[in-house]
Assembly symmetry: C2
Homo-oligomer: 243 residues x 2
Amino acid sequence: MKIKEKTVSLSTQAKKKILEYIQEKELKGDDQLPPEAVLMESMGVSRHTVREALALLEQERIIYKIQGKGTFVSIPPVPIEGGLEKLESITRMIENAGYEPGTRWLSIAEVSPTQDMVEKLALKPGETVVTFTRLRTASGRVAAYCVDSVRRSAISGPVPLEVTEESMFEYLEEHCQLYPAYAVAEIVPTLTDQRMMLDAGMQKNQLLLLLHQIHYDRQREPLIYSMDYFNPELFKFRVNRMK
Amino acid sequence: MKIKEKTVSLSTQAKKKILEYIQEKELKGDDQLPPEAVLMESMGVSRHTVREALALLEQERIIYKIQGKGTFVSIPPVPIEGGLEKLESITRMIENAGYEPGTRWLSIAEVSPTQDMVEKLALKPGETVVTFTRLRTASGRVAAYCVDSVRRSAISGPVPLEVTEESMFEYLEEHCQLYPAYAVAEIVPTLTDQRMMLDAGMQKNQLLLLLHQIHYDRQREPLIYSMDYFNPELFKFRVNRMK
DNA sequence: TAGTGGTCTAGACCACGCA
DNA sequence: GCGTGGTCTAGACCACTAA
């Protein structure tokens, strides 16, 4: 049996070659790359393809261009780390921070939506939601208190008693055919509330960062309403801001 | 005297035409746009140009594409509001929130940098920084406590006694030829500290959102080290997260 | 004026979704 | 199999920078 061949586009290959070139020549910040015409020839591809490769590198801030002057290597020539603007599962966030992700399930229940949920998820009158409440841990320490809700109709069959997937995204993709593509997150500084203190044994008045998110699919359909309370002692939240 | 003619690219014109088409036909969410071949013909441009126009619209999430099916209008067909990932001056943020921006200057002083500043701004040994401390107000209410530092050598002449520009960015661009292009922001939930309570008359233990930012120019040179403490009662901090 | 990146054209073939 | 968007080529002219 053959594994599906992934054909890599020429522009992606070209991008890789340019990166290797930077490595080989040990180019540092503000060093100039060869002009597009030279890259075309040396890689045997068209200018369009070269420019696509350069566009990818520019997006990752590995290079920058100045019209009339040339293309240059950014300083330092390593990509900056991803920030919050990149949508990732909490599992991945915990892994990226260098911890071992864990989950303690607190409850899965079908409940009436709040007014805010009705609006944000565009629920029909009388429609209920299923709410998943979990405590996420990072190498054993309390990392986040997560409350995620999806419309009842998204889940076929009875409300599950347990979910084995570590990541909520994985569960929703595999069992509900929900494919979140982007999210709008509101960031709110907050303190532990009564419920969390009981559920998770957290301290009173501990500072938390609430990520109040609505996840949407490619067609901008709202899928998930989530309230994730993060422990700021374990996570740094970064955002890369561009003009 | 003639004002500089701004030639608008064909792809930008094409983008505008497509937007007008959506308006005219009153296309709603998930409605299909004409295929690229038709757009080429009706607008009299090449496929490349059409695709550039569509790429711009896709970036703004006004449309989405599915290979093999077509191009569709997003629901709702309005661009989502900008979030934190878009770098803006605090002045603009206050204006966008619908308030009247104001500034109370607290101090401008040449000081020794902290160790963190030396690292983040890549300061030479012995180099000092100039720190601007301001209280920003929104229609009279306390909006943010801002502490911005730049390397001493960036400011020609003596340390200014006052700055008239409302926006720090404007001041730095016009007087120091510093052009911030992007910033890396760390988001930290925090409480009012002693200094702020004295300076700004804030309450003890009031929740704040600290945006700890380093601003860089196009060449990735660090320019500004800033610590902005925002009043979360006045601002919602949004981040648009993409997969 | 020479050299660079920015925009645009015309045409080709490929990969995917669907009937 | 057809129609869609995705990728790629070859070639042209424009706009900006610096000598």
